[in-house]
Symmetry: C2
Subunit: 191 residues, 2 copies
DNA sequence: GCAAGAATTGAACCACCATTCAGTCCTTAG
DNA sequence: CTAAGGACTGAATGGTGGTTCAATTCTTGC
C-alpha cells in the first residue's frame, strides 16, 4: 500500500519529466501529466499540494541528475583545468542530447515558484565549480580570485553560450573548444 | 488628433514601463497598465493588437535605452579593456539602480512572445561587445578568438553575476571589480 | 467475509485575465 | 452649427487550466 502510493508519486514525477523532455514545461498541464502517469487528474493532488510543488520537485530531481553527472565527470580528472574542461563538455554534451529538457531547465518561462528552484540548480553548479577554483587558487594553479564570483560568472557564460545552440538544435563544432578556451583564460589557467 | 492618438500610445508604453519597474511583469495586467495610463482597458487595443505586442514594444524600448547607455559609455573610452570596463560598470550600475526593471528585462518569466524580444536584447549587447573584441583581436590588443562566442559568454557572465545582487537588492563592493578582472582575463587583456 | 477507512476517479467548478463590442463622447470638415 | 466618422469606455465574454469533491473502488484489520 505504502509502496503503491510512493510508486505512483514516482510515476507522476517521471511522467512530468518525460513530457518536459518532449514538449517543455509548456506541454505540462496537470491533466497531461496525470494521463501519462496513468492516474486521474485529481490523484496528482494526493501527492502534491499544488502544481508548483510538483514541478519544484521535478526540477530538483532533474537538476540533481545533471549536477551529479557533471560532478562525476569532473572527479575523474586531476588538474583544475582538466576538471573544468570535463564540466563544460559534460554539461553541454548532455544539454545537446536533450535540448528540450535543457531549455526547460535553463531558460523556459515557468511559474515563479518553479523558477526559484532553477536558482538552486545554477547555484549547485556554481558551488561545484567554486570548490575547484578555490583549490586551484590554494595550490597556485590559478591566480588569486573570488571563487564564488568566478564560479557564478562561469555558470552564466556556460548557460548563455548554450541557449543559442539549444534553440538551433545543434552547436557548431567550434563552440565547445572556444568556450573552454574562454573559461580557462577567465580562470587564469596558465597556457 | 494624430498627436493625441500617439500621445496615449506613448502613455501606455510609459505606464507599462513604470509598472514593470515597480512590480515587474507579474504586475502588468492590461487593466493595471490602462488605469495607470489614464485610459480604459479596451483602449489599449486601439494601439496594440495583443498584450504580447504591447510588451514586445515595451521591452524593445527599455532594452534600446539600456544598450544605448552602455554603448555611449563604451564609446568614451579608447582601449578595448577600458571599453569593456565601462560596459560592465554601466550595465551593472543601471541594473542596481532599477533592480525590479532589470530583473524583468533579464530573467523574469514572461509570455514566450515577449521572451523572444529578450533574446534580441541580449544579442544587442553581444553585438556591441563582439565589435570591440574583433577590433581588439585585429589590433593585437587581444589574442585570437571567436568574437561572437566570446561576446555571448561575456553577456552570460554579466547577467548571471547580476541576478544574485538583483535579488538581494545590493551588490557587495567587490562584485564589480572582481567581475571586471574575470572578464578581462577571459578576453585575454594583458595585465 | 465484512466493514471502515483510505485512495482514486474525472467531471464540474472557478478564478483569472486577455479580449471584445455596443453605446457614448469628441473632433473636425463642410 | 451640425452631422459623420473615428476614438473611447468599461462591463461582459470566453477560454484556459489549476483545483476540488462526491461517488466509487480498493485495501486492510478483525
Amino acid at each position: 500500500m505504502k509502496a503503491r502510493l510512493s510508486a505512483s508519486r514516482e510515476r507522476i514525477i517521471a511522467a512530468a519529466l518525460e513530457i518536459m523532455a518532449g514538449h517543455g514545461y509548456a506541454g505540462c498541464s496537470v491533466a497531461a501529466v496525470a494521463e501519462r502517469a496513468g492516474v486521474a487528474t485529481g490523484s496528482v493532488y494526493r501527492h502534491f499540494p499544488t502544481k508548483a510543488d510538483l514541478f519544484a520537485e521535478v526540477f530538483r530531481t532533474a537538476s540533481q541528475r545533471e549536477v551529479d553527472a557533471v560532478a562525476r565527470a569532473a572527479a575523474l580528472e586531476t588538474t583544475v583545468a582538466e576538471r573544468v574542461s570535463a564540466i563544460i563538455e559534460t554539461f553541454s554534451g548532455r544539454a545537446l542530447q536533450s535540448p528540450r529538457l535543457a531549455y526547460a531547465l535553463l531558460a523556459e518561462p515557468v511559474d515563479p515558484a518553479v523558477d526559484a528552484e532553477r536558482l538552486v540548480f545554477r547555484r549547485a553548479y556554481a558551488e561545484l565549480i567554486a570548490g575547484y577554483v578555490a583549490s586551484g587558487v590554494a595550490s597556485g594553479e590559478l591566480p588569486p580570485q573570488d571563487p564564488e564570483l568566478t564560479a557564478t560568472a562561469v555558470v552564466g557564460a556556460l548557460a548563455e553560450a548554450m541557449v543559442g545552440p539549444l534553440a538551433a538544435g545543434v552547436a557548431g563544432g567550434s563552440t565547445i573548444p572556444s568556450l573552454t578556451t574562454f573559461i580557462h583564460r577567465a580562470l587564469g589557467v596558465s597556457p
